[in-house]
Amino acid sequence: MRYAILLMGAPYSDQASHSALRFARAVLARGHQLETVFFYHDGVYNAARLAAPPQDEPHLVDGWITLNAEHGVALQVCIAAALRRGLMDEREASRHGKSGYSVEAPFELTGLGQLVDLGLNCDRLVTFAS
């Protein structure tokens, strides 16, 4: 089955991100396809490249990056939700005159239209939210 995940909870604030990552691994372990994880609402903070959790806690951002590296799962971040929360890649940072950037590949900034297409094209879109 072709799955996609919509994640709307902030990392480390509530369970949503941990559960989404565990579900993603379970889906792949069962031999299903996971095409995309879409980050919206507070879920966009999962794309923060500067996240530095204590060493005895799971590193969620690295978890998503590993999922992309090992299984080719696309990591799409809603650009409107990201920008207003201070999350932007190098291109957006320069466009907005910012001295640093907070999102980098494999996370990609994209529009909400992608979420709608994703939801309509995969077999199951599973939402994790606070």
Binding site: L6, A80, A81, L112, G113, L115, V116, G119, L120
Partner: protein, 125 residues
């Protein structure tokens, strides 16, 4: 399974948060507008606290958050005309259709289940 294989609508957005306090309502409406802008058939269902979004006379921009009233008034421009409210929530908040700023259809639990079934994609905010 229903006999009809093809759902009536592409996208049902369920809104369960009021207009102030969080950005859930605004970001949910954004998803609906984008869906409609991309030519999808979009319906909105206001459930629970979400029915408060439709109350008349809300001050836009109060409390620092951008108000959602003007966005709701734009729905028609985006051809989003299928608007539903949860009957139980209307009852709980003591609301009637005349209190709302847009024309809606009031649904009971069975009708809501059918609405969910008839849409290809459901996003809940």
């Amino acid at each position: 399974m229903r006999d009809e294989q093809t759902p009536d609508g592409d996208l049902l957005v369920i809104l369960r948060h009021g207009p102030h306090g969080t950005s859930w309502l605004r970001e949910g409406l954004d998803a609906a507008l984008v869906g409609a802008a991309f030519g999808r058939e979009v319906a909105l269902l206001f459930m629970g606290e979400g029915v408060l979004a439709l109350l008349e006379g809300q001050g836009p921009g109060a409390l620092g958050q951008k108000g959602t009233g003007p966005t709701l008034e734009m729905l028609e421009m985006y051809d989003i005309e299928a608007l539903y409210v949860e009957g139980r929530a209307m009852e709980r908040y003591g609301l009637e259709q005349q209190d709302l700023l847009l024309e809606t259809r009031c649904l009971d639990a069975a009708a809501i289940a059918e609405l969910v079934d008839r849409n290809a994609l459901v996003l809940t905010f």
